[in-house]
Amino acid sequence: MFPNVDWQIMMEQTWETLYMTLVAGVATFVIGLALGLILYITNESLLLKNRPIYVFVSAIVNVFRSIPFIILIILLIPFTLFLLGTMLGSTAALPALIIGAAPFYARMVELALREVDRGVIEAAESMGATKWQIIYKVLIPEALPAIVSGLTVTIVAIVGYTAMAGVVGGGGLGNLAFLEGFQRSQNDVTFVATVLILIIVFVIQFIGDRLVTKIDKRSA
């Protein structure tokens, strides 16, 4: 049915895509959460409002979020070479994936935290909570559903980024679809790679949605 598809290679490249998505996803979660917290905390008078830090972090986040991903990869080639000694393969795609996705996720975390009722923060303060206790006992648990659904959206975006990274030398299904499918006019390869990417996205979205339903206690 798919004469040009080598299933062995297709599976290998699927794992490459999953590898890039997973590693970049975890790193994005950690860095984005930290940046999002910094953005929120430095802009909230109840916590540690600090205009200069907020403006600085916010500017960096905005710059990296605004650069189209395909251009970001090219701009980051010297950095990747310096870091890993190569710009080819799945691991070489990671710095660009993380630097592209983390600022995007940071904004989502900031929005999620802003949705937390200020009254609840004040209540914790009135009970003698320290700022740190407010962050890890109030802010993060209360914002968790939005933090998780934001992560789902971000990881889905990372899957898309891996395909773009594939075009300029990264591994994975995007690379396979471009080199084997498009450049050699084997439409069946492109088709199967696309279907696999769609499956990956659907599974991620499904897991994310289930998780949010489970932790969201806001509705009875």
Partner: protein
């Protein structure tokens, strides 16, 4: 227990300075329920938030449970806050935590061990009447139940002072009454000092021992609730008292009766406590040669007992009416003749 000396708080905004609290001095005694009433914007919310330093005063001194709030380090302040709890209008519960976990929250903050927390939570759940709902989430509770959780949470650390920031304003009248009863019972049971702010005179009248009336940042009147009810001095206090004493608008009836019995005298009688429950009026009318029309009246319950208001028209000779009024007064019932009655 709480002492405010010349406390002021202002906010500098784009549109200039807003004086929220203006030179307020107050003393609140241990174990009393102290009410602060005012319309929105009167500064009462800011005032109560000064008492646990959610706001810092711009000037003046605030002493709460022996600590001068303005002189505390952040760490000392956190210690005081465990002793001065707050209940909020919108409950401010953590929706990600169950009832039991919400009540346990302030105990977690101070590192109480889990077994001890569990025991304390169980006590509190029973105290506020939520046994069986420990594992519910706030979104599964009614407003009144949420406020019970708020109160249990506030009591978890065994505070000496409970601050209630419009604690019943988001609740319907029936639920309001049940929450007020809960506050009275914990005040009695635990000897807790309660400071509450409200815009409803009903709340003050029902549970407070003393009241302060606020207007434009100033405390314009303070006193025992019964005194303030019987003898409101400031116009704003009179307005609040009317919310309660409020025998509906009687002016039409007054005019009608005056036209019919020009020689009659309309009077307002005010009873307190036992006098509200004795047949004073019928005794007086038996011994004087006058008749009467009842126009309207009511009796309300307060912390110090029943408060009664009755409007009647006395009909008869002017001299006889004056004598009757004198003998009613001698029974320690207050009488206002109609020209004062509003």
């Amino acid at each position: 227990m709480i002492q405010l000396r010349n406390v002021a708080k202002w906010f500098d905004t784009k549109n200039g300075r807003v004086q929220a609290v203006d030179d307020v001095s107050l003393t609140i005694d241990r174990g009393e329920i102290f009410g602060i009433i005012g319309y929105s914007g009167a500064g009462k919310s800011t005032l109560i938030r000064l008492l646990n330093r959610l706001e810092s005063p711009s000037s003046g001194e605030i002493e709460v449970a022996g600590s001068e709030l303005t002189k505390l380090s952040p760490k000392e302040l956190r210690g005081v806050r465990k002793n001065v709890s707050m209940v909020f209008q919108h409950f401010n519960l953590l929706w990600s935590r169950t009832v039991a976990e919400n009540i346990s929250f302030p105990l977690e903050l101070i590192g109480v061990p889990a077994s001890e927390r569990k025991r304390r939570v169980q006590e509190l759940v029973e105290l506020v009447g939520l046994a069986g709902r420990e594992d519910s989430y706030p979104s599964q509770l009614s407003g009144g139940q949420k406020q019970r959780v708020g109160i249990a949470r506030a009591l978890a650390t065994n505070p000496e002072v409970l601050l209630c920031d419009e604690a019943t304003s988001a609740l319907d009248p029936k639920t309001t009454d049940s929450i007020l009863e809960l506050l009275v019972s914990i005040n009695k049971k635990l000897g807790l000092t309660i400071v509450l702010i409200t815009h409803e005179m009903h709340v003050i009248q029902k549970i407070c021992h003393r009241v302060a009336v606020m207007e434009a940042g100033k405390v314009v009147e303070t006193g025992q609730v019964s005194d303030v009810f019987q003898h409101p001095e400031q116009p704003i206090t009179k307005e609040f008292v009317k919310q309660i004493g409020a025998v509906d608008d009687l002016s039409l009836t007054f005019e009608h009766l005056k036209a019919r019995y020009p020689s009659g005298q309309i009077v307002k009688l005010k009873f307190l406590n036992e006098t509200a429950e004795q047949p004073i009026l019928s005794d007086v009318l038996k011994t004087h040669d006058i008749g009467f029309n009842i126009i309207g009246g009511n009796v309300t319950q307060s912390q110090v007992g029943a408060l009664g208001t009755l409007f009647i028209q006395l009909i008869g000779e002017a001299r006889e009416i004056d004598r009757a009024i004198a003998s009613i007064r001698s029974q320690s019932v207050e009488v206002e003749v109609e020209s004062d009655v509003s």
